[in-house]
């Protein structure tokens, strides 16, 4: 459903390509994980797929549901059903959680807001009237972001490290939740993460390294490649991720 081909991205104000050669594919209703070390270009890739102004590719193409979207604006892509949850979501002044979630919904129905909040385990009575500003904790803000994305019922959710900044106990639950969500709203997920536990729900994965996609395929194989390149094989042997997932 999403095909990224030979993408080269020089973010606005940067002289060199941060992503120099990226190709991968996300199939319908699958969870596709993007793995790669800090600074390898994962977020940049996510912004470019979303169509953010500062991240127009200088070459390559992005196809979504058989349609070339390389030159579409953010709004146009969002209307086609693509959305993004930021790694560090921005804070707004004077916008309530409820209004924020409703902004992306077509029917703006109150009970759908409650439902989205309950999916991310936020008490809607407590949070609906709060502002999406600095008063939310880091983890709360990320949950609100996830709720807003889910409420849109998108066809493709790009989630940039939704697991960072959440308390440890909820990792597993989060992946389970993503699994439930994709089944409930029938959406595909492009999941950027560092955590091997995501393998529990991942259908496939791509490894990105210094701006280049190295390998796409089944999650354990890609994870193994990541560990090899990161020279973490010793660690990996102790935790046999190849066998695990």
């Amino acid at each position: 459903m999403l095909k990224v081909k030979d993408l080269v991205i020089e973010p606005r104000g940067v002289k060199k390509a941060v992503v120099s050669n990226a190709s991968f594919e996300v199939r319908e209703k699958e969870i596709h994980v993007i793995l790669g070390p800090n600074g390898s270009g994962k977020s940049t890739l996510a912004y470019s797929v979303m169509g953010l102004g500062g991240y127009k590719p200088i070459s390559g193409s992005i196809t979504f549901m058989e349609k070339d979207i390389t030159n579409l604006s953010v709004t146009e892509r969002a209307k086609l059903g693509i959305t993004l949850a930021w790694q560090e979501p921005v804070r707004f002044e004077g916008i309530t959680v409820s209004d924020y979630i409703k902004a992306g919904m077509s029917n703006r129905d109150e009970s759908a807001v409650d439902h989205a909040l309950s999916l991310v385990e936020l008490d809607s009575k407590k949070f609906k009237k709060r502002f999406v500003d600095n008063s939310l904790s880091g983890g709360e803000r990320k949950r609100v972001e996830l709720a807003a994305v889910v409420a849109m019922e998108p066809k493709l959710m790009i989630l940039d490290e939704p697991d960072s900044g959440l308390d440890v106990i909820v990792y597993d639950e989060l992946y389970q939740l993503l699994d439930n969500i994709r089944n409930e709203v029938n959406s595909s997920v492009l999941l950027i993460t560092h955590r091997e536990e995501s393998g529990e729900v991942a259908d496939s994965a791509t490894l990105i390294w210094e701006g280049k996609t190295i390998l796409s395929g089944r999650f354990p194989i890609v994870m193994h490649k990541y560990c090899t390149m990161a020279r973490r094989e010793d660690k990996c042997r102790k935790k046999p991720c190849l066998m695990k997932y």
Binding site: G53, V74, T75, A78, V90, G94, I95, D99, A103, A148
Partner: protein, 315 residues
């Protein structure tokens, strides 16, 4: 006491700026409502004294909350004028005695203004251990035809809390020039919030909010928020002086420019004369934050809708 009715246009504009009018017109609700130089409704309450005198082009009023009295319901004030042209002048004294508490909701409405001038001179005296919340919302119609010049002088006594919210975000502005000086005594706490939205090249806003922290451990925050579009001009100056040990203050100005030709200027000005005082400030002027825009557009809003939502939130 003369009971005339408030022109419906004034009630409509009260609703426009988001005030609930039912409690305002309720017969028992404390109120002082004017149209030009006529008092159209007045209702006091135990411990709340409302005295007014009609003069040629306005009124002179004393609003007093007596010692230790806590006024349970908000006092509604309306300084309005339905005429298209003319000059209205209000001289008002607000006296909040020791230990008194009151919330005032003021509504300044000039719905038909074409060439209209409103001047207001307010003197505010708050005693010790009192609490005074004052919210003033303006509506100047759709013709940019009002010129509004209020001045406020306030002295806030020991351990008292004073909060003011001024907003002019619905309809047009015309010309607005506000000048406020607030003096905080020992342990007093001041909070000033000012919001304005200039929408065309006929809209010019100039607001100067100043807090003088004169007493030990007095505290003050000034928050100014503005947006300008279509050639509008918004200038805001937030001043805080720390002149006593332990005085702490913060000035925070944020202005958003939409489109071409508009001007916004935010000047936080801090002055400290006591080495044990501390004042901080921040200011941001310019276009809407890109990440905020991107985030809302990724939910399917157009750029215009996103800017609108961000500006509305801020104001």
């Amino acid at each position: 006491m003369q009971e005339k009715t408030l022109p419906h246009e004034i009630l409509e504009s009260a609703e426009k700026v988001g005030f609930d009018i039912d409690p305002m017109v309720a017969p028992d609700a404390p109120k002082l409502l004017l149209n030009f130089n006529k008092v159209v409704a007045v209702k006091d309450a135990p411990g709340l004294i409302l005295k007014s005198k009609e003069i040629d082009d306005g009124i002179v009023a004393d609003i007093i909350v007596t010692k230790g009295v806590k006024i349970k319901y908000p006092l509604h004030l309306c300084f309005g004028m339905v005429a298209q042209t003319g000059i209205q002048e209000i001289v008002a004294r607000f006296i909040i005695e020791d230990g008194a508490e009151v919330l005032m909701l003021a509504h300044c409405s000039f719905p038909n203004a074409c060439d209209l001038v409103h001047k207001m001179e307010a003197k505010i005296a708050v005693g010790k251990g009192a609490k005074f919340l004052y919210e003033e919302r303006h509506y100047h119609g759709e013709n940019s035809g009002a010129s509004v010049y209020p001045t406020f002088e306030a002295d806030i006594g020991e351990g008292s809390y004073f909060k003011t919210v001024f907003s002019l975000v619905q309809g047009t502005v015309g010309k607005v020039n506000i000048n406020a000086n607030i003096y905080a005594q020992k342990d007093a706490k001041i909070e000033m919030i000012t919001k304005a939205y200039g929408k065309s090249d006929k809209d010019k806003v100039m607001i100067r909010d100043a807090v003088f922290l004169e007493g030990n451990n007095s505290r003050g925050t000034i928050r100014m928020r503005a947006a300008a579009r279509g050639g509008g001009e918004v200038f805001m100056e937030g001043i805080t002086e720390g002149n006593a040990p332990g005085a702490t203050g913060h000035v925070d100005c944020k202005e958003i420019i939409q489109g071409f030709g508009s001007t916004a200027r935010a000047t936080p000005l801090v002055r400290v004369t006591d080495e044990m005082a501390r004042i901080t400030h921040e200011a941001a002027v310019g276009r809407v934050n890109q990440k905020e825009l991107d985030t809302l557009m990724a939910r399917g809003l157009t750029e215009e809708e996103a800017v609108d939502m961000i500006v509305k939130g801020m104001l």
